[in-house]
Amino acid sequence: MPDAPDVPDVAVVAFGQSEHRANTADLSEVEMLLPVLAETLGQVGLTAGETDFTCSGSSDYLAGRAFSFTMALDGVGAWPPISESHVEMDGAWALYEAWVKLRTGEAETALVYSYGKSSPGHLRDVLTRQLDPYYLAPLWPDSVSLAALQAQALIDAGHTDERALAAIAARDRTSAEENPHAQLRGSAPPERLLDADYLVRPLRGHDAPPIGDGAAAVVLAAGDTARRLCTRPAWIRGIDHRVEPHALGVRDLTDSPSTRLAAERAGAFDAPVDTAELHAPFTSQEVVLRKALRLGDDVTVNPSGGALAANPMMAAGLIRIGEVAARIHRGASDRALAHATSGPCLQQNLVAVLEGDPR
C-alpha cells in the first residue's frame, strides 16, 4: 500500500556483530552481547539506554532456560526504564517490530539486538522441539535431515546437483575470507569438497552451516535523525515477512512462495538490486531462494559468506540486514536485498530492501 506522505522513512544507521565462534563457554549471554551493543551504539555516538525504543530476539530453547532474555537486558542499561519489547524469533523480526514502531512516529531511534548460543545444547536435537508436537517432534527429525529432504527434492526436480551445491559452499566460504567475524573462512575447490562423506545424503558437511555462538545489533533511525547520525543511511524501502504451512508434506519444498510474496510486498522486484544477503543455512536453500527472489548472476550474493560462514541462531537473519546496510553505508552497494528465515525448510521468510541515497 502506498505510504501516507507523513510516514517517516526508516534507515539502518549502525550495525555490529560479535566474532562468531563455535563455543563461547567462557562468556554468559550478556557478556557476549555487551561489547556488541557498545560498539554498535558507539558508531552513531550513542550509549546504552539512549535510543527511544529497544527490541530484541532470542530463544529460551537455545539457552535451556526460561526467561533467558531477561538477563540479557542487563547489557542494555534499562535505567531509567526504557520502552522495550522482545520477540522469540530471529532478530530480523525484532527489527521489523522496531521498524513498525518508528513508522508510528512514537520513536525516532531504536536499538535492535539478538543473540544465540548454540554451543550449550545439541542444536540438531534442540531444533526438533520446533516441530509439530504430535506427529513430528516424537520422531526427533533433526534440522540437517529435514534440509536434506528438501535438497533431494531439488535434485529430483533438476534444480541443482551436488556439484552445484558444493560450488555455493565454496563461494560463500571464500567470500568469508574477507569477513573478520565469520566462523568458517576459506574453502577447498568444489571438486574436492565432493570427496567428503555425506552428513545426511545428499548433504555433506560443507552444505551445512557451522554451529556456533554470536550476537548482532543494529540501530534504526527515522528521517532527519538518520541523516544526522549517518553519512549514508541504509533506507529500508520495504520490509515484509510471510509464513507457510508447517508440515513439510503439504509444501512444495522446491519453492518458497512466502519469500516471493514477501519480496513483492517489500518492493524487491520494482528495481534491480546489486547485492543480496540470503539467510540460507544450507546450500540447497540458496537454490530455492534465488529462484523465488529472481536473482540473476549479476547480483552479488552473500559477500559476507552468508549463513554458511556463520549462523548464530536468532542473530543470523538480523546479520543479513546488517551486512547489506553496512555495504550501503560504505558505498559498496546502492540497492540491496536482505533475507531472513525461520522454521524447518524455510517455513517463514522475511525480505527487506535497503537503499542508499544517490551518490
Binding site: Y61, P80, P81, E97, V100, R103, E106, L127, H241
Partner: protein, 388 residues
Amino acid sequence: MSKEPVAVVGIGQTKHVAARHDVSIAGLVREAAVRALQDARLGWPDIDAVVIGKAPDFFEGVMMPELYLADALGAVGKPMLRVHTAGSVGGSTALVAANLVAARVHRTVLTLAFEKQSESNAMWGLSLPIPFQQPLLAGAGGFFAPHIRAYMRRTGAPDTVGSLVAYKDRRNALKNPYAHLHEHDITLEKVQSSPMLWDPVRYSETCPSSDGACAMILTDRGGAGRSPHPPAWVHGGAMRSEPTLFAGKDFVSPQAGKDCAADVYRQAGIADPRREIDAVEMYVPFSWYEPMWLENLGFAAEGEGWKLTESGVTELDGDLPVNPSGGVLSTNPIGASGMIRFAEAALQVRGQAGEHQVDGARTALGHAYGGGAQFFSMWLVGSEPPTS
C-alpha cells in the same frame, strides 16, 4: 504526523479451566480466534497479519510454537509475529498488533495469546535445575511475598486488605462465564481462614494455573466503521522495562510501571486517572498487588492504595471497579493473562461485559506486568474514537 486510530472490533476467549483435555494446542488457540472473528463478523481472508504471544516455550515444551500454529490461525501466506515479554506478554502482543494498524502497515490484525499449562507444569519450567545457581527456595509465591511484606511495612496497611481483594475478585468471577475459578460458596471468612502458604500470602490470595487463550481483532477507522458491534478505541498504549534486579530497584512500586502509566495517560490526555477512568483490569497475581498497583498506576497517593480497596472503591459497584472480570486471581493462563486484561478493558467500554459490566464505562485501563516486576504494558481504551 498522525497515527491511524486503532479499534478493537472482535474479542474472543476460551472458557479458562485447569486442563483442556479435549483440544490440542491448536484447538485451544483456534477457539479464541474464531470467537473473536465471529464477534467482528469477519472471516480468515479479512485478516492481514497475526501477532501471537505466550510466556516461555518450556511451558508447553514446543520451541516457537507459532510455527506449528500458523495453519490453525489462518496465518499461511501472511505475516506472523511472536512476542515474548514474560508475564506482560499478553499486553505487549496486543500493542505490537495495534502498532501495525497505527503505522498503517496493515488494516486488520488478529492478535492472540495463550498458555496451555496442563501440557507441563509451570513451576518445572520456571525452576529448571540451572547448575551453580541456588535453587529457588520458596516457590512462586515466595518470590512475591517479601515484597508484599515490604508494602505492608511501608504503608501500615492492615493485614486483612489482601483478603478483601481476593473475596471481591472471586465474587466478580462468578459473573464472568469465562473465568476459571467459580467459587460459588466463597465467603470472606473462607479466604481469611485459607492456609497461609507464604506468610503473608494465603492460599485464596493466589492465582490458579489455567489453560486458556484470548484473541482480539484490531482494525483501522474504516474497519471500525463496518463493525457490527461498538468498537473500543485505543487512546494510549505503552511498554516499559527495567532490569530484573538492580541497586535501588523498588519492587513495591517499580519505576517502569509508573513511567508506563504516565506515558499512556499523556497519550490519552488523562490528567486525573482516579476520576477519568471508569474501570481497571490490572494484573494482580497475588491479592496484595491490587493496592500496590493502585499506587503505582496513579490511582492513589503513595501509601494510600489499600484505603481504596478497604473502602470498597474497587468493588464492581464502587466508583473505580478493579478487575470486574475476576482478574488473574480467578484466571491465569500465564501468557494470555495480560491480553485478557486488555480485552476485558475493551469489553467494558464496548458495553459487552455482560453480568460484570461496569455501568456506563467509557474509559478503561488494561494493565499487565511480568518478569521480576520489570516488564509493563498497558493500554487505555475508550468508547469514543480519539479526537487527535
